[in-house]
């Protein structure tokens, strides 16, 4: 038997085992998330949010929004946050040395004036030049600082924040009006909760009025449609499944709530990573364990944050490369958790899963394609087996995405038209034929970026939600 043939046999066995491991885990996650979603739905049905909103017992909250060159979106974002339902909150916008008119736009729109508000430097952050308060909205605070990146801006916001809980929201996102009440309910009903997050969905082409999504609509752009299916999968059976076993590794930076003290104890966001949200989620768990505190990091599927997702090939590629690099950095910085029983499900199940299937996944997937082609060329492949295996792989992918769409239909039904849901099903089929391979390639590039220490954030085309609504209406 030739060396190639031996290699091929071993590699085939490895690929089959990897495939079984990956898809077996996904199927388990689907089951777990089904029960997890059901449970959280019952709890939400039983909870009385009207009463909660009137309650004077709830802890006040700081909403931190980092802003860098956000002149087109920042006003809409602030109005949407000002309209949130929550008994008492302050909004801290951190202008991270924007080079455009972000600060000027805010100054004009919200009648800002310089404030003598002081703060403690609980976490290191770049120089804060000025703090402004709004003459119209007393709970609106603007921090103007040197550019230091998103993490540094968030750290500055945490330093300036006054309240025991803080929520970070991306400046290109809008949050459902009752989202804060829902997510804070988790902190109220379980004192061990130190961090919690909700679902992120694509806001592109949704109808947004007064800073809130009033109708979820499907974008005509196919890159966006692929991402909608991806987000449904990632949140409705990925994160919900991990949460059901206490194995949450990441809370999205676009919308998550933290106990300020836990974040300060952990040292705040790490500025030298692009995966600051995941890195912080992991580090909090390490610090909490080292302090011997009983803690919980939870995910609730219903509070929804709508965010602008990339609409172009270039934008999406940049984002996915960055995410993969962020994943690699986060896992690398917290590698002591890997297979560490001290961290329970996180150390023993989710961290190894993310390491093997999410981090190394693109390498294995792409090498699988290459070996597949080489094996065909060398005539080493049993064609019927290869074809059937490929069909199984594709069908499993379609089934998993369909299960996520089904969960969306059972629990949330955010898309009002059946047509939109059926289009998503078509995209769940289509994504297996080139998007999945392309995605693996981008993730592989992201891994190379990590290995060769390429450190760029990349840019994402932003638009104002109100402008987009106008465009949509005209078209």
């Amino acid at each position: 038997m030739s060396g190639w043939a031996v290699f091929f046999i071993f590699y085939s066995v490895f690929i089959i085992l990897y495939f079984i491991g990956l898809n077996g885990s996904y199927l388990l996650l689907v089951l777990l998330s089904f029960f997890g979603l059901r449970r959280s739905r019952i709890t939400q049905k039983v909870s009385d949010r009207v009463q909660t909103f009137r309650s004077s017992f709830y802890k006040p909250l700081t909403i931190i929004i980092p802003a860098f060159n956000e002149e087109t979106t920042i006003v809409d974002t602030i109005y949407s946050v000002l309209a949130l339902q929550y008994p008492e909150f302050e909004i801290v916008i951190v202008n991270d040395g924007s080079r455009d008119n972000t600060l000027a736009v805010m100054k004009k729109q919200f009648k800002l004036r310089q404030s003598a508000r002081s703060y403690n430097l609980d976490i290191p952050c770049g120089t804060i030049h000025n703090i402004y308060i709004s003459a119209d909205y007393p709970n609106l605070v603007i921090v103007d600082k040197d550019n230091g990146g998103k993490s540094d801006a968030l750290n500055a916001g945490i330093n300036v924040s006054q309240f025991p809980l803080f929520c970070n929201i991306d400046s290109d996102s809008v949050v459902d009006s009752a989202a804060l009440l829902k997510v804070i309910d988790l902190f109220v009903k379980d004192r061990r909760v130190v961090a919690a997050g909700g679902t992120i969905r694509a806001a592109n082409h949704c109808r947004i009025e007064d800073g809130h999504v009033v109708e979820a609509r499907l974008s005509p752009r196919f890159w966006v449609r692929f991402q909608i299916v991806e987000y449904l999968r990632a949140f409705l059976f990925g994160r919900a499944g991990w949460s059901a076993i206490g194995g949450i590794l990441i809370l999205s930076g676009a919308f998550s709530v933290f106990r300020r003290k836990a974040v300060v104890d952990a040292g705040g966001y790490r500025p030298d990573t692009v995966g600051e949200d995941m890195e912080l989620t992991l580090r909090i768990q390490r610090v909490m364990k080292s302090l011997k505190r009983d803690y919980r990091i939870v995910f609730l599927p219903d509070p929804v944050c709508w965010t602008q997702v990339p609409e172009t090939y270039r934008g999406l590629r940049t984002q996915r490369r960055r995410w993969q690099r962020g994943l690699a950095e986060s896992l690398f910085y917290n590698f002591s958790m890997f297979l560490n029983p001290q961290y329970g499900a996180v150390g023993m199940i989710s961290f190894p899963f993310f390491f093997i299937f999410e981090l190394l996944g693109p390498v294995i997937e792409l090498s699988g394609y290459i070996v597949f082609l080489v094996a065909i060329y060398l005539g080493l492949l049993n064609p019927p087996f290869a074809i059937l295996f490929l069909v199984v792989a594709i069908l499993l992918g379609i089934m998993l995405s369909t299960s996520a769409i089904l969960m969306e239909e059972i629990h949330f039904r955010k898309y009002p038209r059946l047509r939109d849901v059926l289009i998503l099903f078509i995209f769940a089929i289509l994504e297996n034929f080139f998007y999945r391979q392309l995605h693996a390639w981008w993730r592989f590039q992201g891994l190379l970026d990590f290995l060769f220490r390429r450190r760029t954030w990349g840019t994402l085309d932003r638009y104002s939600f109100s402008e987009k609504n106008m465009e949509d209406a005209q078209s």
């Binding site: 403690n120 308060i133 109220v188 009903k189 004192r191 059937l388 199984v392 849901v421």
Partner: protein, 376 residues
């Protein structure tokens, strides 16, 4: 042709996966269709129900006539979905009338049966519904549910009991929330506050019994007193704090003398809650001396003392407030400065002087508060 066993397995797997996918897709379509049809039917029914319900409340329809319309629809969950927003906002005679309608139409009996249903959702929703309808005849069932191990049942039962306003369950609900759940203090207080102002009488009686100015007479007051005596695994200060917060929440002035007495020997946590209650009630007991609290070792006590100073406006305490402008804690400085800013011209002059006279924390906070006053 005999198929390779591996290929055979793969073909079987393909059939299973394809079958499941088609099943999921069918489920999506059917769920959507059923939902749309259901919503359409519900909308039609509510159009009729609205006329019937308001006609009944205005006396244009008899109880029997109105109940017959609801009964005919034979869907209690929909009936509740329709009535719930009204029930929650109704009070007095209108509430009693609506409750009577629910009883006559069979909704209360339906949900009482649902309390024993196998489904967690049905049981939990029944508990909440009966609570919202203030059905005190379900208290024993809800108490049994409260002692369950399932956190959803505990939550539903606690909410149901609290909404029913049956204060006989107040002590047990408090005990369960603190001992058998991970509720935060605020979460427990929020649910207990739904028992209503009636619970404040029992709390005040227990506090008076504890401070020696009264006696606990009924079983609820005695249970609360047991909590304050520490006859539980929970530290007494937690119960004190919770009960005092509830008094504050209802601005229960009748409790002021008991709170004033308690403040003299309370631990620092309880002291914070007493001061917070004064703040909520909007006054202090007559003759209450705030000065020792402005000098207290615990910064949170100092912070709240600075906030409640305004109710005494004790001029002898002004130098203490001035000292607090240099306190190591930001919140203490903030509240001391706010108190001074509300202390008339003298206070404002003092703050202005601080901005020019001194550097550091006192000047910063004085400047900040003066600026805030200007903005507001």
């Amino acid at each position: 042709m005999i198929m390779d066993p591996y290929l055979y397995i793969l073909v079987q797997i393909i059939f299973v996966i394809a079958g499941l996918t088609i099943l999921f897709l069918l489920a999506i379509v059917l769920l959507r269709l059923f939902h749309s049809l259901g919503e359409k039917r519900y909308r039609q029914m509510t159009e009729d129900w609205e006329d019937v319900f308001f006609g009944y409340l205005q006396g244009e329809l008899t109880l029997e006539e109105a109940a017959a319309v609801f009964k005919k629809a034979n869907s209690y969950p929909w009936m509740w979905r329709f009535l719930a927003p009204y029930i929650r906002s109704l009070d007095g005679d209108d509430f009693d009338q609506a409750k009577l309608l629910c009883r006559q139409a069979g909704l209360i009996d339906y949900y009482k049966k649902r309390l024993h249903h196998r489904s967690v959702t049905q049981k939990a929703l029944a508990a909440r519904t009966l609570g919202s309808l203030r059905c005190r005849e379900s208290t024993s069932d809800l108490l049994a549910m409260l002692h369950s191990k399932n956190p959803i049942f505990i939550l539903a039962a606690a909410q149901g009991l609290a909404a029913s306003g049956d204060t006989s369950a107040f002590a047990q609900t408090t005990r369960t929330l603190l001992n058998h759940t991970f509720f935060t203090f605020e979460g427990a207080a929020e649910i207990l506050s739904r028992f209503g102002v009636e619970s404040c009488k029992a709390i005040t009686a227990a506090l008076e019994a504890k401070t020696g100015s009264g006696t606990a007479e009924n079983p609820v007051e005695k249970s609360l007193l047991d909590h304050l005596h520490g006859k539980d695994s929970i530290e007494p200060y937690v119960y004190y704090s919770l009960y005092i917060d509830l008094l504050g929440n209802f601005r229960y002035r009748e409790a002021l003398p008991a709170l004033g007495k308690l403040a003299r020997f309370a631990d620092q946590e309880t002291m914070v809650h007493i001061l917070k209650a004064f703040l909520r009630i909007g006054e202090m007991p007559p003759g209450f001396d705030i000065k020792p609290f402005l000098k207290h070792d615990y910064w949170v006590v100092r912070s709240f003392a600075a906030q409640v100073w305004k109710y005494s406006r004790d001029q002898e305490a002004l130098p203490l407030l001035e000292n607090l402008l240099s306190d190591p804690y930001w919140w203490v400085r903030y509240h001391a400065a706010r108190a001074l800013s509300e202390a008339g011209q003298n206070g404002k002059t003092l703050l202005k002087r601080k901005t020019t006279e001194s550097a550091g924390a006192a000047a910063d906070i004085s400047r900040y508060i003066l600026e805030l006053n200007e903005v507001n």
